[in-house]
Amino acid sequence: MRNIVLAAAAAITCVTAAAAQLSPRRAAATIESRQANYKQMAAAMKGINDQLRGGNASVTEIRRGSAVIARFAPQVLRWFPRGSGAEAGVRTRAKPEIWSDGAAFTRAGATLVVAARNLETAARSGEVPAIRAAMAGVARACSGCHDGFRAPER
């Protein structure tokens, strides 16, 4: 049920964002900032994975990372207003399917929100096996969306 609500909320966000037309400068800025945000998420993922490696994981470090993921995850769908794809003339690997198959993209975004929330809950509990399982969920959400909506490098 929560998933459906999330997906609906995300869909509304997406449609609202799509209604606004993007100037080329806005499009470039949008792409730049979303790439910077993804970098921060990737760094947070590595930070958590670094802790999960070996025996002595720092729960403080893991919480720091999971907070970054949890903060960004609900924003992701808003980072893709129509016009911020390859047509913006800036290097981006965002595929046109993001806009042509908006429903699937929205579902992928909602999956990430749920996974990020699970990670935050696990991080709060401090239970390493739970964190590990939740991280697998976030990684699946990342890859699941990248597989369909991010073009390969070069």
Binding site: M45, K46, N49, R53
Partner: protein, 212 residues
């Protein structure tokens, strides 16, 4: 023609395992089979460490001291002086050392690398920041093409020997033997040395990927 032993089994096994692993690593990276890629990279690390140790304590043709030659010998070889000895030629020695160094660099970069999403990391990646690990991943990709170039050169040299000099270098790397009259055969290393080299390489690899 009598046949003489040129390459021992560890040298041949190492060679052909690398022949399999290099394209396999390209493939697993391309297919984003990163768990397998990272695991196979650790196997490669162990093999390379073994080959380096074997280059110090292995049989005569495996040893660096036996085949790494100075500029004088390399020039003489280029001027066409015929070598009576078996094993790597002075030029071939350069190629062996360059390939081994490059393989070690490549595996070393992989140890610290991470993918752009921070999802898959080499076993030593936790020692560096995300930015550094990502840069090292880019170098890891670039070094592969340098490695490819060297492999191309290596294969071209073997083809040159086969076609121009009518000397098949591939068969001895498979069977270990080549035709030879009046040449001194390889001095084999006893089995215990192999065990020492293999155990040291395995131990070092384990220590690098788990303890650091």
């Amino acid at each position: 023609m009598s046949r003489v032993r040129v390459w021992d089994l560890p040298v041949r096994a190492f060679h052909w395992l690398i022949v399999v692993i290099v394209p396999a690593q390209y493939w697993t990276a391309r297919q984003e089979m990163m768990d397998f890629h990272i695991l196979l990279g650790q196997v490669a690390l162990g093999l390379i460490l073994f080959r380096i140790i074997w280059g110090l304590i292995g049989s005569s043709t495996a040893r660096f001291a036996g085949f790494v030659r100075g500029p004088g010998a390399i020039l003489a070889h280029l001027r066409g002086r015929r070598e009576a000895a078996i094993g790597h030629s002075p030029i071939g020695a350069l190629s062996v050392v360059a390939l081994l160094v490059l393989l070690l660099v490549q595996v070393g970069l992989g140890l610290f690398a991470t993918d752009e999403d921070g999802l898959y990391s080499g076993p030593l990646s936790h020692l560096v920041s995300f930015e550094t690990a990502e840069t090292l991943a880019e170098r890891h990709e670039q070094v592969f093409y340098v490695l490819l170039g060297l492999i191309g050169l290596h294969v071209a040299a073997i083809l040159y020997y086969l076609v121009v000099k009518r000397d098949n270098l591939v068969a001895p790397m498979i069977t270990g033997d080549r035709a030879g009259n009046g040449v001194e055969a390889m001095a084999a290393a006893p089995a215990w040395r192999f065990l020492v080299a293999a155990a040291t390489a395995a131990g070092l690899t384990w220590a690098i990927v788990t303890l650091l």
